[in-house]
């Protein structure tokens, strides 16, 4: 039977020769992930069930990234639960402040996920690792607790939608614009329960950072996972970051897809999602005059090195508009250090931005940049739901780093061309 990439990985993980869409399976997991919001609930469930041992202390990652550095007593208590559990169970991949970064930037960078893996994480953006040719999906805390105990997860094999990427994106258009464009096209439940498979000749023009941003937002179309065909770029990334064995799975040429789309990357415009759903997309030329109060450049979607470089290229020699606060958050310590070494912080600070330590912080309205009533932000994050970044009557406009940085300079949602002639 012909299979998609996802079917092949799930067949291997469940010990089956083949699996069909709709089939319920139990699959072995290569990595189980939790953060400071979801892991404490999982640990509580784990302990309530009287369990005393995790299935593999090397295959669990505990990343307290959401409210780090702890924003209040309650969040400090939550991290304490994680820290003590990690010590008690001998969990190898617990990331303390000073080493912690945003989980979905951190795990690939640390080489903890490679092609062919099955990863579940109690965080919806766990789908990010599909960029590496892994099957990865978000689950809840109870699923995480069960997987920490058994090393297994129950899954329904998803149907798949194929995205055939062709053409070369124009300057300033990044993976974020492409995925926002796709979500605008298919809607926030356009891929509900399904796998989004990305392949095609256009892949050669997409960096790993572009692919991470795209796979990251598969959940924003309701998908179970997003997955990219593995190519030389993927293998280079894995070789540079991991010593683990990997396995490359390729979709059969006659694999079945419920829908197929061809996306000409050369035609994708800079794209902005208007409040309060990621599907409310407009191209930059359709945006109109929208004054803003804040810009956030960071998150598990766009806090990577290329995002930082793109922002710096636009901000160099410019000043952030006097009515705007621009908050820049490199996603990991490695990225932070690289920004420092490349002189990007000088650019950011000279232009009037503030640079934060790695944290999810403002993306989910946690801390480090909360919006007041009536305020508007352009943000490179992934959700613009009601109240997502603060007051219930504040607004979040999602965009890539180029539009975010340009908007910081002009004080309204802008194309980079307005700032750099």
């Amino acid at each position: 039977m012909a299979m998609t990439m996802t079917q092949k990985i799930l067949a291997k993980g469940s010990g089956n020769k083949e699996v069909k869409p709709g089939q319920l399976i139990k699959a072995k997991v290569d990595m189980v992930l939790g953060n400071d919001i979801t892991a404490p609930v999982a640990i509580s469930e784990f302990e309530k069930a009287g369990l005393t041992k995790v299935f593999d202390r090397k295959k669990i990652a505990l990343v307290p990234d959401h409210f780090t550095p702890n924003k209040d007593i309650k969040s400090a208590e939550q991290v304490k639960i994680m820290r003590e559990f990690a010590r008690k169970m001998g969990i190898e991949h617990y990331f303390e402040i000073g080493r912690v970064g945003i989980e979905h930037a951190l795990l690939p960078e640390q080489g903890l996920v490679v092609a062919g893996d099955i990863v579940i994480g109690a965080d919806s953006h766990t789908c990010t690792y599909g960029a590496l040719g892994a099957f990865s999906t978000g689950v809840g805390s109870t699923d995480m607790a069960a997987a920490m105990a058994t090393g297994e997860v129950w899954l329904k094999v998803p149907e798949a939608i194929k995205f055939n990427l062709i053409g070369k994106p124009s300057e300033w258009v990044s993976g974020k614009d492409i995925i926002l464009h796709i979500i605008g096209m298919i809607g926030v439940d356009g891929a509900l329960y399904k796998s989004m498979e990305f392949s095609g000749e256009g892949l050669e023009f997409l960096s790993m950072d572009d692919r991470f941003a795209m796979a990251n937002m598969a959940i924003e179309a309701g998908a179970k996972n997003g997955i990219f065909e593995v190519d030389s770029e993927t293998l280079k990334y894995i070789a540079e970051h991991s010593e683990r064995d990997y396995e490359v799975f390729t979709a059969d040429s006659d694999a079945e897809y419920v829908r197929e789309y061809t996306i000409d990357l050369s035609k994708v415009q800079l794209t902005v999602s208007f409040p309060h759903l990621p599907e409310n997309t407009k191209t930059i030329s359709e945006v109109g005059d929208i004054p803003i109060d804040q810009v956030v450049i960071g998150s598990c979607t766009n806090g990577r090195m290329e995002d930082m470089r793109m922002a710096a290229k636009i901000l160099a020699g410019k000043k952030v508009h006097p009515d705007v606060r621009c908050i820049i958050i490199p996603a990991t310590q490695e990225i932070w250090k690289q920004c420092m070494n490349e002189g990007l912080f000088e650019v950011f600070i000279d232009s009037g931005c503030v640079v934060s330590t790695p944290t999810c912080g403002p993306c989910l309205g946690g801390h480090m940049g909360i919006l007041a009533e009536g305020e508007r932000a352009v943000s490179t994050t992934n959700r613009n739901f009601v109240g997502r970044m603060g007051h219930v009557r504040s607004e979040v406009y999602l965009a890539g780093p180029a539009v975010a940085a340009a908007s910081a300079v002009t004080g309204r949602i802008s194309s980079p061309e307005e700032v750099i002639g």
Binding site: L192, G366, R383
Partner: protein, 160 residues
């Protein structure tokens, strides 16, 4: 498993950020979470919800984050069951795993109005809207998922 209660109705794409905003996620105490359930789309929810009430939502109910705090907050506020046209997949898993009954029934959602009295019989796969004098057939869960529900949640199931 039978439930009966009055309808509290919402639209499409009710996301987990409005079910329980992240600013309250520095705890997982269910009573604390229930105090803020639905706060960002419906400030009156917590004061008018009565034990047994049923939330009726549109497409993609529970979209967004993986926070299990969302079904926990709904369950702790006394809601007996959520009926929607469709559920976001992580919310669907979480609800089953923590023992919050959920049912997909687009026709019932279209007919139901705020305050309608609804009865749900999961064993026989029937929903009745007493105000509209209509009944609806619902598809049973796959056997494996029924096993989790009968065991009282995933952790109890894996211990079996």
């Amino acid at each position: 498993m039978k439930y009966e209660g009055n309808v509290i109705k919402y639209g499409d794409n009710v996301d987990t950020d409005v079910i329980i905003p992240a600013r309250y996620l520095n705890t997982f105490d269910e009573k604390e979470l229930a105090k803020h359930c639905m706060e960002d789309i419906d400030k009156t929810f917590v004061t008018r919800v009565k034990p047994g009430d049923i939330i009726v939502g549109g497409f993609n109910f529970g979209c967004g984050s993986s926070r299990e705090h969302a079904p926990i907050a709904i369950k702790a506020s006394g809601i007996s069951c959520v009926i929607a046209k469709s559920f976001a997949r992580i919310f669907y898993r979480n609800a089953i795993n923590i023992g919050l009954p959920i049912v997909e029934c687009p026709e019932c959602v279209d007919d139901a109005e705020e305050g309608d009295k609804i009865g749900i019989d999961l064993d026989n796969g029937v929903i009745i809207n007493y105000n509209k004098r209509k009944s609806y057939t619902i598809h049973p869960f796959p056997e494996f998922i029924q096993g989790i529900i009968k065991a009282g949640g995933l952790m109890k199931y894996i211990r079996q």
